[in-house]
């Protein structure tokens, strides 16, 4: 038994001990551990965990399903998955940028909602616009409105020292009820109890495109999202603006001492975060869906906080973590219909994932300590105890 423990310790040190690769290996370890725990939970519900995971991937078009409805195949499933992934990626990037600047943007949901709403009424309901113009306008409005709502939070913090956690939570509710009020008054579709659907021209997802006998939904935003993630990476790591933002995030006092304008950078970072939320909003409400459900804040905005943390607030990491979480969220319908595992299990796994990734700091500490003391502490300890007795 002791020997086994010893071996595991050595293995862990070998896998995770290298401090240079720890930023990559530790999150991967966290993911692996949570998927393992998820399997245990699925097994407890009485289903086959391997099948359930397979179903998750099948639901996202990553693995082929045994049978398909007309005009559908695994590729159409995959584009459907991309469609859901897009807003998640944008929203997570929004949280990540704010975190880099040392701020916690909990208001992504509200910023998404107001951007989606403004884009809907300014471009989504306009008749006679060409597809290109309408889509361009939607993006523009989304970015601008998001930027304003994010910038407001940064400005409140800079000017009146209002903690951004408080202001974003409050703004979430203000925006939610204001938007819901407007929808109920002027834009309601009485049948669906949602806002009236936006025009096809303004949708950021091309619906039912016929190609090769299939009807495919093409989410245009995903390419933009991945492109922006890499652009953001460049911006944060390789520009003076990114340098200032990161310095302000790590140590505002030192940033000020070095002559940086911390307040200005704070506002700019929040504007950037807001603009990304805006893009999340328009790809969500005018891409993934075509309308807005009043009185509901998009859950994506909150999941994004966890996704950004899991991705270490690093744009490349966020691409991976948002991909993973989106699989869980998107694939669970198919999983529950196929293997009878309740769809909520996917949320449970997401929760475990977040819990474990929140513990990576602790795991890192244990591993490094184990490494410092040497893997042979156990053996030494026994020897030591024997020594004590002989005295």
């Amino acid at each position: 038994m002791k020997k086994g423990k010893h071996l595991i310790q050595r293995g862990l040190i070998l896998l995770l001990g290298n401090e240079k690769t720890q930023p990559i290996t530790l999150p991967l370890f966290a993911v692996f551990l949570s998927l393992l725990l998820g399997m245990v939970i699925i097994a407890v519900t009485g289903a086959n965990p391997v099948n359930a995971y397979q179903n998750l991937l099948q639901g996202c078009g990553i693995l082929p399903k045994p049978s398909y409805a007309a005009y559908k195949n695994s590729f159409t499933d995959f584009t459907g998955f991309l469609n859901a992934w897009t807003p998640m990626l944008f929203a997570s990037l929004a949280v990540a940028v704010a975190l880099k600047a040392g701020m916690f943007n909990i208001g992504v949901s509200g910023q998404m909602l107001i951007s989606g709403f403004m884009a809907s009424i300014l471009a989504g309901y306009a008749d006679g616009l060409s597809g290109l113009t309408a889509k361009f306008l939607v993006l523009l409005v989304g970015i601008a409105v998001g930027m304003l709502s994010g910038g407001l939070v940064g400005w409140l913090k800079y000017r009146f020292r209002v903690n951004e956690v408080v202001s974003t939570i409050m703004l979430n509710y203000i925006l939610l009820y204001a938007v819901s009020f407007c929808i109920h008054m002027w834009y309601i579709n009485p049948v669906s109890r949602q806002s009236a659907p936006v025009t096809q021209a303004s949708r950021l997802t091309l619906l039912d495109v016929s190609a090769g006998g299939m009807k495919i939904d093409i989410p245009l935003g995903i390419l933009l999202a991945i492109g922006i993630a890499f652009l953001l990476r460049f911006l944060l790591n390789r520009t003076t603006f990114g340098f200032e933002i990161r310095a302000a995030g790590k140590s505002p006092e030192a940033a000020r001492y070095a002559g940086m304008q911390v307040g200005k950078n704070m506002v700019l970072a929040m504007m950037l975060s807001g603009a990304l939320s805006g893009l999340a909003g328009v790809t969500y409400y005018l891409g993934y869906f075509g309308s807005i459900r009043p009185k509901v804040l998009p859950a994506v905005g909150f999941d994004a906080i966890a996704v950004a943390l899991l991705g270490n607030s690093n744009p490349a990491g966020v691409i991976l973590s948002s991909f993973l979480i989106s699989i869980l969220e998107k694939g669970n319908t198919y999983m529950s219909s196929r293997s009878g595992v309740p769809g909520e299990i996917a949320s449970v796994i997401t929760g475990i994932l977040l819990l474990v990734s929140a513990c990576t700091g602790y795991i890192r500490y244990r591993i490094n300590r184990l490494k410092e003391c040497g893997p042979n502490t156990e053996e030494k300890g026994r020897k030591g105890r024997r020594g004590e007795q002989s005295v």
Partner: protein, 509 residues
């Protein structure tokens, strides 16, 4: 029982270095035993093992003649070992009493059943304890409202409350003013008289000379000597510590001062409660001159430096650099105008601890060519520059320019700050407490650097709490008391005692 603590043949390795190499020390009951050595000599590691924070790779620890194995601080506490760390470990928003009893709180039963914390009893216990040992504190006061020396007394009481008999002090005087140091040494002597065994980690030889009975000297992880303090001169101790003969006594060349570079006129600064902390201060510093501001901590000298550097807004008065009024400039413009600033707190102000060494070295230059062009950073140039500074200022770290500054030793962190600031090649250098918490070797190097900058014709404003430092370096001394510059004189015309008297606010000394 001949020895209270014996550490036999202790060896401790960390990746890349041997922190302790076959060290054997024996400490008698009721003595004050000093551990001497430069930063990184292995003193703290050795004591951390005694306190259960690490386990030795080799060797044995014996307490009161019994072999023990200490795997956690709790176990150490069980063996009546207590430690006051250099950086205090206190909960800021708890009161002194709450901090002291934390973990072993006295319990009362509410309504005869519900167990809950008995605050009154705790405070009474602390009050009794503090009277017994002469450690004055207010048990009901929050830590955040206390000054450094009061916090230290809380730490000491924390050990005593846990019935510690073996007391380890890690660099206890590094953060204290001269008066507070005297008071602390008094307390330590008192503790000894009450039957405690004291281990003192320090590199301030004067203090060891004053209170320690014996001292052990560590050098690069090895034990080089154990001496009776009363038979050993401080010079001898210093030589043992550095491992070879003392560096040449510093020579301060006579140089011609040039024109005036910094002039401060009627400067008044208020703190955030709108109380004046710097009152109507005027002075000037010329090229090739070291102007030292002497004063007891908290008399406005930090605010004075911050106001000149632009971190604090001046309420009134003028600040002239090379003849131009910079008092309305922001921090960046002041840097560009020719002001370098080594701040008091290198960890929160001078450095971004979670940035790499290279990024910290360009913290004030990232916006200039060749480090960036049109807002795009150039990592090659940044790396090259970092390596150049690392070489020139002998900044040591585990992974070179990529090292996170947080993981570097205090001395090397300070070298990084000083290297960066000197290399801005500005005519004015402001040093605030440049050698705080550093060992003799590092202090010596920094003092030489300051003198070198003086010879290069820089104007230097030195703010220090160490009278020795001021006497050694300064050309002109200004004494600050309660925010007012009470006296400005040629350094040669004043003795240390006179400066000390002015610092305490004595008039006409």
């Amino acid at each position: 029982m001949e020895y209270m603590v014996e550490m036999r043949h202790i060896t401790k390795r960390f990746p890349g270095i041997v922190a302790n190499d076959d060290v054997t020390i024996q400490i008698r009951p009721q003595e004050i035993f000093a551990l001497l050595g430069e930063n990184g000599a292995g003193k703290s590691t050795l004591m951390s093992m005694l306190f259960g924070m690490y386990e030795p790779d080799d060797g044995e620890i014996w307490i009161r003649g019994e072999r023990v194995r200490i795997t956690s601080p709790n176990q150490a506490a069980g063996l009546n070992i207590g430690m006051v760390h250099q950086h205090f470990k206190l909960v800021q928003n708890f009161t002194a009493a709450e901090n002291i009893v934390l973990g072993t709180e006295p319990v009362k039963r509410l309504f005869g059943a519900l167990p809950c914390f008995d605050k009154q009893q705790a405070e009474q216990q602390i009050r009794d304890l503090s009277h017994k040992y002469g450690l004055e504190i207010d048990p009901a006061k929050r830590i955040s409202d206390m000054d450094v020396s009061a916090r230290q007394r809380v730490e000491i009481l924390k050990m005593l409350y846990r019935r510690a008999e073996i007391l380890i002090f890690d660099e206890p005087t590094a953060v204290l003013t001269p008066q507070e140091i005297r008071f602390l040494l008094e307390i330590i002597r008192e503790l000894k008289d009450q039957g405690k065994t004291v281990i003192l980690i320090s590199h301030k030889l004067e203090e060891i000379k004053q209170i320690a009975d014996r001292c052990a000297v560590l050098n690069h992880g090895r034990l080089t000597a154990v001496r009776d303090v009363k038979d050993t001169s401080t010079r001898e101790m210093a030589a043992l510590m550095i491992g070879n003969e003392l560096p040449e006594p510093m020579e301060k060349k006579e140089i011609q001062v040039s024109r005036e570079i910094l002039r401060v006129e009627h400067l008044t600064v208020e703190n955030k409660n709108h109380l004046p902390v710097v009152r109507d201060v005027s002075f000037s510093v010329r090229g090739g001159e070291i102007f030292a501001v002497a004063g007891v901590a908290g008399n406005g000298q930090i605010e004075l430096a911050d106001a000149i550097a632009g971190l604090l807004k001046a309420k009134d008065g003028g600040i002239y650099l090379n003849g131009a009024d910079i008092s309305q400039f922001n921090v960046k413009r002041r840097i560009v105008s020719g002001l370098s600033y080594i701040p008091e707190d290198r960890q929160t102000t001078g450095l971004v601890l979670d940035f790499s060494l290279a990024d910290n070295l360009i913290l004030k230059k990232y916006g200039r060519e060749p480090f960036s062009r049109r807002g795009i950073l150039n990592p090659d140039e940044i790396g090259r520059y970092a390596e150049e500074l690392i070489g020139r200022y002998d900044i040591r770290s585990a992974r070179g320019k990529r090292t996170l500054v947080r993981s570097m030793s205090g001395g090397n962190q300070q070298k990084a700050v000083i290297g960066r600031e000197i290399d801005l090649q500005n005519p004015l250098l402001i040093f605030v407490q440049p050698t705080r918490g550093l060992d003799i070797g590092a202090i010596d190097k920094i003092h030489r650097q300051i003198l070198k900058e003086r010879e290069a014709g820089k104007a230097i404003l030195l703010i220090s709490l160490e009278l020795d430092e001021i006497m050694k370096l300064s050309d002109t001394v200004g004494v600050i008391y309660n925010g007012t510059m009470t006296r400005i004189s040629d350094a040669k015309s004043l003795t240390a005692d006179q400066i000390g008297a002015y610092m305490m606010g004595v008039k006409g000394a």
